[in-house]
């Protein structure tokens, strides 16, 4: 009897070797419960994260900081008025941190400084993510000339040191506010996201599900938006969380140099600059804006850390 399990003449579409059904572990495939919702990367990450205390600590801190920025009245009912006779006064009833050189309530300013920092941080992160994802994904997905030109374009912006460019532009601008600072920071801060996105898109775009979508006749842009980007999002989100923290530090540095937010806006960076003027007489004034700033930045960077660990299956196993 000739063994006709393996046919010599292939059928159309089966030009390569196809194992007979009894050699394939069909049972394993059958055992998969289709009605069960597929477990996604994010679901697994969430399952991992909710057992980690660091996640809850940073989440609580972020909620606290955002509350401070949105409704500062929740934390302080002190008067925003500065009374010069209170200058450099120590803590008193109702003014737990004391007063700065101008006689302003330090607690009031520490709470109200959150709005400027969070606004600049969130806005510049949004700008950076939109711009970086757009440029990076187009470069990575379409490749060819697009990639060459966009990658060189990214290199050019990458070659200009971030702090230097921000200082040069900010010193040129006359009316400065949160949006202007965010735009300036984003203009020179998007390159890393673009590079990360390009790398992630390159890693995803040759997957089977992309080929399948292409075979089903889906448009290229639709594939990019519906299949490629969602699967490349993890590293972008992790980087964006950390970037938010660094943008807040950058804003504080600019305000400290006197070229960030105007002195009429309460900001931790500006308050640090003021505290520096009185550092010989009252060094403790610096503690409050510095601590508020550090806690804010720390909460976002810590969150980015936790999310990254949770998304990385290699780190999770251990």
């Amino acid at each position: 009897m000739p063994d006709n399990r393996y046919e010599k003449t292939p059928r159309p579409g089966q030009e390569h070797f196809v194992a007979p059904p009894e050699d394939v572990q069909v049972g394993v495939v059958d055992a998969v419960d289709v009605s069960e919702a597929p477990s996604s990367l994010w679901q697994e990450a969430w399952r991992d994260m909710r057992h980690r205390p660091l996640f809850w600590v940073s989440a609580a801190l972020i909620v606290f900081v955002i509350l401070m920025a949105v409704v500062p009245g929740l934390f302080t009912s002190a008067s925003p008025k500065c009374v010069l006779t209170d200058s450099l006064g120590g803590p008193t009833q109702g003014h737990i941190f004391g007063f700065d050189k101008q006689g302003c309530d330090l607690y009031y300013r520490a709470i109200h400084g959150a709005r400027a920092s969070v606004t600049v941080g969130v806005l510049s992160t949004i700008f950076v993510v939109v711009l970086g994802t757009l440029i990076g994904s187009v470069a990575g997905y379409f490749g060819g000339w697009f990639d060459t030109i966009l990658s060189r374009f990214t290199d050019i912006f990458f070659a200009v040191p971030f702090v230097l460019a921000a200082i040069v532009i900010m010193s040129l601008l006359q009316d400065r506010n949160e949006v202007v600072v965010a735009v300036v920071l984003a203009t020179f801060g998007w390159t890393s996201i673009a590079r990360i996105t390009r790398g992630a898109v390159l890693g995803v775009k040759n997957n089977e599900f992309v080929t399948a979508a292409k075979a089903l006749g889906m448009g290229r842009l639709a594939i990019l938006g519906k299949h490629v980007l969602p699967n490349a999002a993890a590293p972008i989100i992790v980087y964006a969380t950390v970037a938010l923290g660094t943008f807040i530090v950058a804003e504080a540095t600019l305000s400290f140099l006197g070229i960030g937010l105007p002195s009429t806006t309460i900001s931790w960076g500006g308050d640090l600059a003021k505290a520096q003027e009185a550092i010989r007489v009252a060094p403790e004034i610096m503690i409050y804006p510095a601590t508020a700033l550090a806690i804010t930045v720390l909460s976002f960077i810590m969150m980015g850390d936790v999310v990254r660990d949770a998304l990385d299956p290699k780190a999770r196993k251990r």
Partner: protein
Amino acid sequence: MLWYIGRRLLQVIPVFLGATLLLYGLVFLRPGDPVAALGGERGLSPAAELAIREAYHLDQPFFMQYLYFLKGVFTFDMGVTFTGRPVVEVIAQAFPVTFQLALMALVIETVFGIAFGLWAGVRKGKLFDSTVLLWSLLLISVPTFVIGFVLQAVVGVQLGWLPITAGRDPDFISLLMPAIVLATTSFAYILRLTRTSVAENITADFVRTARAKGLPRGKIMTRHVLRNSLIPVVTFIGIDLGNLMAGSIVTEGIFNINGVGGTLFQAITRGENVTVVSLSTVLVVVYIFANLIVDVFYAVLDPRIRYA
């Protein structure tokens, strides 16, 4: 390899041109007329104004002005500052100080960053690891200038161990505190990078093989774990040299150092466009070449990267 270096060098050209054009455009498109400002309240005579405009090519369109600037960069003749000093002279004076400062910071952050990162990575999950990790997060979260003031107040004023400011012609000792301050953020990043990749590599198959064939622990660490873990760290260090030199704007301000950063910031506030653009160009060149060296240095560390 040579072919790769050549191609990589060619790639530098458009990046250099683009970056300098960007900076030049930013600075020179600012509102205000430097020539009119030169005359003060009385104003210049039309003939003198025309002569000055011609001498500095200000009558030419923007792109021609940029080309004249490039010519100046390549012939080391970048014009003069407001006080009449040649810009090249200013750069020659400011650059060595900043370079020394950045190099000291680089050594500090690399040595301590890799040492702590290696130790934490080997003991991942232990108390030492979590402590070091938390401290590194704190260092990233606190702005450099705050760390500078704290060190000034504690180490400089209260303990009196190190001089508070550097001033003119600083020596090694007076640059030590600024270098530590400049190094803090990058130290934290290097530590975290090293820790992550050491922790990853230490469980890799090739390390298990090395252990199985009886290689001493020290040799495994240096030959296998560290060498493989240093690849991302080297990339970071290369990018960071440029950042350190630009980041010195803040640090040099705090410690009163007459380097590139200090000079640059003064020039920016005074509106000395020529000085700003020239110093920035120097920084960009350092930045680009540091990246180039890193790319080439890869080959030494990672033979897997092939240069086709």
